[in-house]
Each structure stands twice: as C-alpha cells, then as structure tokens.
C-alpha cells in the first residue's frame, strides 16, 4: 500500500491536516483486537445478560423467568454481604497500598545507599503469582504466626487469623497489599523523579523544612499519580479472587466471600442464571464507578 497523503483540491489550508482521509490500513490494524474483544468480551457478556432472565443452570433445558433472579438477589443476605465485604475490603486496601507505596517511593527516590538493590527487592512481590503468594501466607498465618503468638504469650494470635471470622479480612488486606504495593510504588517513583529538582532548591532557599516540602511540593505534584493508583487499585481489588481463594476460600463461614467468588460459585454450583443476574448488577455498578472516576480524573489531569 502507498503511504502518500491525498489532499483534496480547495482544502489546502494547514488547519485541515487532521481532516485528511484516514488510511484504510489503520482499520485493518484495529480489526484483530476488535474481533477478539467482541468474541471474548462483548458476546459472552450479552449471552450472560440474556441468561440472567432464565432459570438456566448452564446446561440442558431452561425457560424464561423474567425478573425473578433479580428479585431474589436483593433479598439474599449472602450476595449483599459479598458486596459489602468487597467494597469495604477494596477501600481499606486502596488506602493501605497507597500510603505504604507513597512513603516507600519517597524513601527510594531520596539519596540513600543501595537504592537500586532495594527497589528490586521491593518489586519482587509483583512478579509472583497471586495464588502462590496466598498459599505461602496461608501457611504463615496457620502455622508460623500462631507459634509465634504462643511463644510470646499473645492469646488472640494463638489461633490462626484466617480462622477468626472478625479478623480474616485483615489477613486478606495484608496479603493483597503486599502484592499490590510494588505496582503502585513504581508509578509513584516515576511521578517523583519527574518533579524537577529546582523547585526543591527554591524551597530550600525560602527556608521550607523537609516536611513542608513533602506536603506543599511533592504531594501536589504527584496528585495525578495518586489518582491513577487509586483507580487502578480500586478496579483490581473489586475483582479480588485468587488471593482470597488461596487464603480463606471465602471462610470462615461466608465472612470473606467476594463478589467474583459468588459469581463463580454459581457457575460451578448450578446457579448459572442467578449469578449471571448478579454479574449483570455488578457490571452496572462497575460502569457507574468508572463514569464517576472518569469525571474526577478529567478534573485532576488539568491540575
């Protein structure tokens, strides 16, 4: 194909440059991802929404049941609890991850020894698979921590955190944060090194303390990165699945079942249509959150 740009006669003003005819080849470039997205995301999504109005169990005969599944969901404490748990868990984890990652990033961009080595160490959790991390921590929580608790005479630590219905979620936050901090850390480091050194010099000359510099210069200048981290993190944590499966499998009782887990449980346990209705609701909720975040970030990026 040729790559010459055809300009129509009579439209030779410089401003019309972006109005020129789009090369058809670009559509060809788009095609694979468009096809894949349609086949792997859109079509199954629509099929799922369709089945949420039936009593299908995923196989065999089924019939339409109208809004029955949706009515049942809103009176199902297990589903409502999974929403409560997932949102609570996501908010706490986002806060924990961002505070730790930001402080670590400030430390790792300042003039300290072994900076590169430390950065490498801190990033390692990111490259380990979630389910492996979960099983390793499962062992620590079930065996090592209770032994340590018994040795130190701390009675509430003697039984596994994972077996405590009130505290199991803390263990999940800890492990998820352990895995998620490096990703946020890298983004913060990128943000911090992009701040020009002169502003700090100027602040020094004006007599600002290090703490004031952190608060008045660093924090506002990385605000955009904070927003990115919060959005990416929150989105990821709402889909929490692998780490919870490896740690508690939703237990003890049903205290740590995430939304994704209830949806998949329906897929495996003969509740396909019902959980498709749940997934549809979750999809709507996710779209609403995305719209909210989109409008927020638009404001932020102009800062």
């Amino acid at each position: 194909m040729s790559i010459t740009t055809a300009t129509r006669p009579g439209q030779d003003r410089p401003q019309t440059r972006r109005k020129r005819r789009v090369e058809p080849i670009f559509y060809l470039f788009l095609l694979p991802s468009l096809v894949l997205f349609t086949l792997a995301i859109t079509v199954p999504g629509l099929v799922g929404i369709f089945f949420s109005f039936t009593n299908s169990i995923g196989i065999g005969d089924w019939e339409f049941v109208g809004l029955t599944n949706y009515v049942a969901i809103f009176s199902d404490p297990a589903i409502l609890q999974s929403y409560l748990f997932t949102f609570g868990f996501s908010i706490v984890t986002v806060l924990v991850v961002n505070v730790i990652a930001f402080l670590l990033a400030v430390g790792l961009t300042s003039q300290i020894r072994m900076k590169t080595a430390l950065r490498t160490i801190f990033v390692i959790p990111m490259v380990v698979s979630g389910i492996i991390i979960a099983y390793v921590f499962n062992f620590l929580f079930s065996n090592s921590l209770p032994s340590a608790g018994a040795a130190a005479g701390i009675s509430w630590l003697e039984t596994s955190l994972l077996a405590n219905p009130d505290l199991a979620w803390v263990a999940i936050v800890v492990v998820t944060a352990w895995q998620a901090v490096p990703g946020a850390l890298l983004i913060y480091i990128a943000g911090l090194v992009s701040i020009p050194g002169e502003v700090y010099e100027a602040a020094d000359i004006d007599g600002a303390s290090k703490f004031q510099q952190l608060l008045k210069i660093t924090a506002p200048l990385v605000a955009g990165y904070v927003v990115i981290n919060i959005i990416l993190g929150f989105k990821g944590f709402l889909n929490a699945y692998d780490i919870i499966v490896g740690l508690t499998n939703g237990g003890p009782g049903t205290s740590t079942r995430s939304i994704a887990m209830t949806v998949i449980a329906g897929f495996n346990g003969g509740d396909y249509a019902y959980q498709m209705a749940n997934a549809t609701i979750f999809f709507v909720v996710a779209v609403l959150i995305s719209l909210l975040q989109l409008s927020l970030t638009r404001g932020r990026n102009t800062l």
Binding site: D76, P252, G253, G270
Partner: protein
C-alpha cells in the same frame, strides 16, 4: 517494476502463511487410527491406581486411547456449560451430578452389561439425587461407608471399649482427656472435613436425613419457622450435641489445622479418634503403615439401635449425552465393571463394591462398619443433600468456630426458600 515485485512477493508470503496455518489447524484432528476418549477421574487418593488401570486398558486393545483428566469437578461443570463435556467419568455422586441427571445431560446406560449387575437395593442411594424419565443416567461404582476412625492402640492402653451410646462416648472422651490424650483430632481449616465428619455424623446419627430433605423439598418456598420441617427446628438439637463434642474434646489448634495435618497427626498418635472417611486410611498409612485402626458409628443417642453409618456413592459412572465417542466410552465402561477390575479398585480404596457378584473379605480397618452396612443401618450425610449453591460447608465451619446456631439455621432456611423461589 520493483513495487510490483514486492507486491507479488508479499502475496506469496501471505499465501504461504495461510497454508501453514491451515496445515497446523488440520493437524489437530485424528491422524492416528485410535479413537481418543477423555475420562474424568479426580479422586485424589486413587489417581495412581486409576492411571495404571487406564494404561493397562490402552495396551490391551488398539481401538481406543483413553486419556485421563484429573482436573477436578469444577472444571467438569464448566465443560458442560461450554458444551465440551468429558466422554466418560467416574465421579462422586452428589447434588452436583444430580443437575446433569435432572436436566438430561447424561446418556442412558440401561443397555449396558454393567447395568444388569448392580445391586437393586442400592437404587434408593442413586434415586436420592433425582432421575431423568426413561434413563439410567449413572451406575454406582464404589460405595463408601464412613464413621469414626479410632486408634485401637490408644483405646486398649486406656482400657476403653468402643462406645455404643452417647453417654459411653462422653465417658470415653472424659477418660481420655483425664489421661492427657486428645479425644478427637479436628481439622476445621478445611471446611469439607467439618461437613462430612462432624456435621454429617452428628446429624445423621440422630435424624432421618432423607425424610427431612423430602419434607424440605415439599415445603419449597414456604421453608421457615412455620413449615413442617426446617433447619432451625430439626437441626438445633443434633448440632448442639456436635458442638458439645467440638467444644471440649478436640485438639487446641483445630481451627488452623487442615486435612493433611490431621492425617499426619493421627498417624503420630496425637489423638484417639478422627472423624474421617475410609479415604483417610491410605493417607495415614503413608506415615504409619502398621498402626492398628478401626471404625465405629458415632453414637449420638442413648439407644444402641440408633447406630448408623454414613454412606455415599463415592464414585458413579456416567457418559454425557454430549460426548461424541459414546460407543468407545461404553466399551471402556464395561471394562471398568469387569469383576476383577471393580473389586480390585474397591479393595484398594476400602470401598464396597455395588455389583451382585461381588465377593471378598473386608479390610480389618472397615470391619466395624460391615454389620451396619449389610443390615441397612445407613444414612446419607445432610451436607451432600444440600444443593451446592447453598454454601453449607462454609456455614457448618462457622458453627464449630463459634457462630450462633439459631442464626445460621435461619440463614439456611431462607437460602433454601429463595432457591425454591427461583428454580
């Protein structure tokens, strides 16, 4: 000229690529003469045995190549949904498989030789999970009876006899405890161990489970405080006794121990009794091959006539309607049911063979249950009779970890009614 050349060249390369791709794709379909069938089998303890059996079968004939898939029950369910089920399976027969039966996803096996040799008195065990009109959808392959596993050496050392009543049991537990021996080893970290052992033995020993679930199904959306049967009304009493045992007579770290930990600890003699099925014997034997073990039904009432053992169809054979190799699968099915094959399997796993021609002395470790099994003093565990979409295992785990029984059973009643409402 040069641009034309590149153009031709490009077309040629494109054509070549397409040809290669087509070749790759077609390469997937049968190039050998053997018909390949996918055989789902995921009973962890028996994978070694079955792998060898499949290899023997593959070597014995040159029509069919059986490929074993051990990826587990969740993957199987998903494969049905995707329309790509296995060709044949030997799988646990439970509510999960019941769905496939009831919606007609399994093919009729009544014409097979194997189906004529199944003991008729086992039919209620199969019917419990529903049927599809005019079909024999599944055949039992291995029946497991389970009850309390006890360490004969510890019992003998402390002069304790096998308890036949609830009072005997409490007396035995107190005596063991006084002697510094943990009566029961519990592994509550794995919720299924609470469900199949603690919950099922306790409730099944006191309640007619099949009758209860029959009434519950009839009540449907009405299940609640006013229905003829409800979890809240009928389970409180049995579960209170379970919690009495769970509260005073287990290892201190029960909440953080899992099935594997339990097998090891029991093999090391760290407790006198263990609420597990016969599948645990093989695991215990790995670290203590000579340990003297026995079984007895958990006495939950003061009447020795109430003693019963839990049974379940540990494995049933079925062939999905959606299989494209049904004939080859049926040939393999007949092979699996040959007397020497099915009996060798059940002997290796301490199961009971469901065929009429079965013979052979039971293993001494399950001798304690034979009497009850043959007299029909059996029950099905309540945990396997609850549809899987209700997380019963999670709930009973919460019970032993301290959740309020009344509230838990109200939740179960509401879950049951809600399920009846939408299905």
């Amino acid at each position: 000229m040069s641009s034309n050349l590149t153009r031709t060249l490009r077309m040629a390369v494109l054509g070549l690529c397409l040809a290669l791709l087509a070749g790759l794709l077609s390469g997937c379909t049968g190039d050998s003469g053997k018909e390949t069938i996918r055989f789902t089998f995921s009973k962890r303890e028996a994978i070694g045995f079955m792998t060898k059996l499949v290899a023997d079968y593959n070597a014995s004939q040159d029509k069919t190549e059986v490929v074993m898939d051990t990826s587990g029950v969740d993957v199987v369910s998903a494969s049905f949904v995707r329309g790509n089920p296995p060709d044949i399976a030997l799988a646990n027969y439970n509510m999960e498989t019941a769905r496939f039966v009831q919606r007609g996803a399994l093919s009729d096996l009544s014409g097979t030789q194997a189906s004529t040799r199944i003991r008729k008195d086992l039919q209620p065990l199969m019917d419990q999970y529903g049927s599809y009109p005019g079909r024999t959808s599944a055949l039992p392959y291995s029946i497991m009876a389970s009850s309390v596993i006890y360490n004969k050496e510890i019992f003998a050392a402390h002069g304790i006899d096998v308890p036949k009543t609830w009072s005997d049991l409490i007396a035995a537990c107190d005596a063991l405890k006084a002697a510094g021996v943990t009566p029961f080893y519990a592994t509550w970290k794995d919720d299924w161990t609470v469900a199949q052992g603690w919950f099922d033995y306790s409730v099944g020993g006191q309640l007619d489970t099949i009758d209860f679930f029959h009434k519950l199904s009839e009540a449907g959306t009405e299940v609640g405080p006013d229905s003829p049967a409800s979890f809240e009304k009928d389970f409180q009493q049995p579960v209170a006794k379970m919690l009495e045992l769970a509260g005073s007579y287990v290892n201190k770290d029960a909440a953080s121990r899992a099935y594997g930990d339990g097998n090891l600890a029991f093999a090391q003699g760290k407790a006198a009794m263990y609420l597990q099925g016969p599948w645990a014997f093989g695991e215990i034997a790995k670290s203590a091959p000579d340990l003297q073990l026995g079984t007895f039904p958990l006495p939950m009432t003061d009447n020795p006539d109430d003693l019963r053992v839990r049974v379940n169809v540990d494995l049933a054979a079925w062939i999905p309607e959606g299989s494209k190799h049904k004939d080859a699968a049926r040939d393999f099915l007949e092979y699996l049911y040959q007397p020497e094959v099915i009996e060798a399997y059940n002997k290796s796993q301490l199961g009971f063979t469901p065929t009429i021609d079965a013979a052979g002395a039971p293993d001494p470790r399950i001798e304690g249950m034979v009497e009850y099994y043959e007299k029909g003093q059996v029950y099905q565990g309540p945990s396997v009779l609850v549809p899987r979409t209700i997380p019963i295992m999670n709930h009973v785990q919460a019970l032993v970890l301290g959740a309020d029984p009344a509230a838990t059973f109200r939740t179960l009643d509401a879950d049951w009614a809600r399920l009846a409402f939408r299905q």
